[in-house]
Amino acid sequence: MRALTAFLAALIALTSVQTDASSSSLARSIDALTNEDYPNVEVHVAPPIDQTLVERGLPWSSESLGFAQKIISSQTKSFEKEISRLASSGAETVLAVSDPQILRGKPYKDASLYVRNLHPWHLEGLNSSGKVIGRSRQFPSDTRDMGNYLVRPKSSRCSVRLSAWWNPFDWFTNGTCVTTQVSASAYLRASLATALKKATIEDSGSWLVPQIDYALASNCELTVRHDELFCDALTQIVEGQRSIKLSGKSKLGGYSISVDVAARKAIYRATTIDQRAIAKGAKVLAGDSYVSFF
């Protein structure tokens, strides 16, 4: 029967038409959630982690808080350095100019919960006649983390000299050039939200669902002992494997599987990620310039 299935599958492949697709519309449509059918397993999945709302007030590790503060300070210093450079080259006013957004699209539809503006930006220095005389590098230097977009110029136009009420040019500037104040916990919250969009974690134990379904559908003798489901037929889909662990737990979410051996049916239940455990375990590995959460 299984050989026949494979043969039919090969026939399908033979007759399938290749469809190279370069249009982004097709690409978008295939990102849509699809359904799989594992008839012997009732699946209760956790919500997708990429749209998880990262809580406020998480108990961040002191290591992560300290490192986040260093990043914020470093970004502020870089900004001040560029302002000084532009000022020394004759700029009197500085504009903050937005660059094209890099983190965009479906994964970032909730980005406003963490950051006000996800555009990279650069500074342009204007002389007294309003002519652009210098330009900064792009900020943030690490564009991949939403946390890095929190430190920005407080206003889009600022003065690098003392303002003068009699100078009409100063009427349109918004004070001195400073950055927004950012807390380490706000940085870490945005950074974790980014990591949850970038990470591909196989939903705690849901990758086991096809294996459970296979075991239940096969003719193997099913036994459950010590929190494991045993089925010799599993070796036909995973080399050397004869059992499946029926529960697991990690800060990225746990799972439990209950099996009705007689009916050859199972229920899979996943639990959501443990944000508090993730926050407590946030760390910085040697040589890394970012916080690791998982």
């Binding site: 029967m1 299984r2 050989a3 299935t5 494979a6 039919l8 599958a9 090969a10 492949a13 033979l14 399938s16 038409v17 290749q18 469809t19 190279d20 697709a21 249009s23 982004s24 690409a27 978008r28 295939i30 990102d31 849509a32 959630l33 699809t34 799989e36 059918d37 594992y38 699946v43 999945v45 982690i49 990429d50 983190l103 699209g105 994964p107 564009t143 969009k197 970038k198 990470a199 591909t200 974690i201 196989e202 939903d203 134990g205 849901s206 990758w207 669902v209 096809p210 294996q211 379904d213 296979y214 036909q236 889909i237 995973v238 080399e239 050397g240 494997q241 970012y290 690791s292 998982f294």
Partner: protein, 214 residues
Amino acid sequence: MNKTKSSIGAAIFVVGSVLASPSAALAASNFESCSAMAGSSYLCVGFSGYTGTDPYNVSRFSTIAQDGTRHSCTSYAAFRLFYNNSYNPAISNFDSAQYWASQAVANAGATLSLIPQVGDVAWWAATPTLSQGHVAIVDAITYTSSGAIFSIQTSDDNAGRQVTTRKTLYPGVNAGTIKYPDKFIRFPGYLAGGGGGGRPPIAQIGTLSGTGTN
């Protein structure tokens, strides 16, 4: 690690697939032929030189196992792409695997296909049980005597399981360790098997008359 090592690895798999195919005809379900264990979690992709990090630094979003090893399917795919394809900085900004197909097309000049080639990224869309999708690398392809694709061999890393694996997957078959990929992402400038940005010859059995290739 250099491009040569990775290319040799791919070539070994291509040759190996030709020799191994007759026995594969007996298999019916998608099969995981190599499952690494904690302590030697990169074993199944040892031929590639991957040890948990990649030059695109996608690995910064990997999970970190108790033994300090890093794991994610996207990092492994990025690693292989770096050494087998031309440099493509857009990959650094890709999100979780479910978005790789659309982001590769929109930002990295890639194309999508239903017909795999060696070196492609095998891609799985998000599903209720695989909510961030999945990616792997196509290491080998076997064909029937009529030229149809019989099976593909993939290798991957897994952030949840924190191990690497190799799998044999059959077109149209969902049963087994994981279903057959939804699409194949083809990045520009595949270098393995001779360099110069061209595609390598595809492993084949019997007579091929142009079927199954692009």
